[in-house]
Symmetry: C2
Subunit: 227 residues, 2 copies
């Protein structure tokens, strides 16, 4: 499904070069459940942005479903992002003047559904993250963990074939974190591909494969022992 | 040092009332090391904003150092916030167009120090959070955990007598979290008052007192057993 070949992401700052990703070679199959771990600044979000077609590498090739992403047009990239990928950002990126409900309804517009259907699916998604009673609030009227859950609901509402989740539980207490992991596990058992970044061991333990990044390179890549 | 008496924070949304804080009675002494825990939406950030004089309660009284905060002028409040309190926000709140160094230097302006002295203290603070090599980057050129550490350095640079930290390690890996807790422990042993919000048990275990909020009320208030 996903093939990264010699992927580099370099930033040139004056006379210094920051190597956010440094010659990454990686293959991820359909219906894998992957956790990226690694210290702060090791390249995890950069990796997610490239996987999600939100950013281009400086060098190297990214093959998604066999197609070279670098050769796709802006329209084709937008279509992939809207139809196939669900993205949960580390800093949520909600529309600040739209309610939780409107934020979650937004990705459904590309599915060509009518308003009543979009509303119904969005309310179901908000119920799954326990936020039905906050659907009218705009982001500034929500707690940090509530904004994070709106971002999660928005990514899940289109039932994406690839879910990219950058630290989806960083602002959540233990019980809420468990509820969210139940949702991700469900999606995985329905056949989807889940790729997440996390700092928490109990979250990484839900995944089947753990890839550790350090200074922009893959340092470890192992299977989680699970029944 | 801190006395909250019947503190309420209500939001009126149409015909519903959200009780973010619901009759809070609490006393915190000087040089305490307190962790607020509780589920997402339970009122922790609201509590921190009131303690930090960034928000006013709907009802009730807040006594800080014996003075009624509600009777203080805007100027007096600003002075308290600048001189006595260090605040680490759950969403960092960095100046987006200023470098990490400039962001950390900013609170020192109120101390009346000259530029070279402010720069020196800011660089030391960035070194303590392992970000000296990123001091020229602006927030969009930093990872999530790096932005969080800039916010931490900015709060610590004035050696505040009260440190208010809202989920200071939410975006940090385990090792970096430990490094940050070492800094907080140092500040505590120097006699400062540390009040933090956290979702992580190992972080709360550094504190001497743990207060659990639920639906805007204090549900638990216990001492951590430590040598
Ligand atoms: N401006 C507002 N208008 C309406 N409701 C609000 C507003 N700000 C906060 N709330 C509500 O007040 C409650 C408490 O919010 P608060 O941010 O204090 O929670 P929290 O404990 O910090 O949560 P988290 O762990 O998710 O950060 C939440 O249910 C939130 O929806
Ligand atoms: N626009 C940019 N310009 C320069 N350097 C950048 C830029 N964006 C990111 N970086 C650097 O690239 C490195 C990797 O960043 P990235 O956001 O991928 O880290 P991360 O692993 O997600 O970290 P965290 O766990 O803190 O979120 C960091 O050292 C960061 O400073
Ligand atoms: Mg990141
Ligand atoms: Mg909060």
């Amino acid at each position: 499904l996903i093939n990264l070949m010699n992927i580099c992401k370099f930033y040139h700052m004056g006379d210094q070069t920051v190597k956010a990703l440094d010659h990454i070679n990686l293959a991820i199959e359909e219906n894998e459940y992957v956790a990226f771990i690694g210290s702060s600044g090791s390249g995890k979000s950069t990796m997610m942005n490239i996987l999600g077609c939100l950013d281009k590498p400086t060098e190297g090739e990214y093959l998604l479903n066999g197609k070279q992403v670098s050769s796709l047009s802006q329209n084709q990239l937008a279509e992939i992002r809207n139809q196939e990928i669900g993205f949960i950002f580390q800093s949520f990126n909600l529309l600040p003047r739209a309610s939780a409900l409107d934020n979650v309804m937004l990705p459904l517009v590309y599915k060509g559904l009518k308003l009543s259907e979009r509303r119904k699916l969005a309310i179901e998604a908000l119920e799954k993250v326990n936020l039905a009673d906050r659907m009218g609030h705009i982001p500034s009227q929500l707690s940090g963990g509530q904004r994070q859950r709106v971002a999660i609901a928005r990514a899940l509402v289109t039932k994406p074939s690839i879910l990219l989740a950058d630290e989806p539980t960083g602002n959540l207490d233990t019980q809420t974190t468990r509820d969210i992991m139940v949702l991700f596990d469900e999606l995985y058992h329905e056949g989807q591909t889940i790729i997440m970044v996390t700092h928490e061991d109990d979250v990484a333990s839900h995944c089947r494969r753990v890839i550790r990044l350090s200074d922009g390179q893959v340092k470890d890549d192992y299977q989680n022992e699970k029944e």
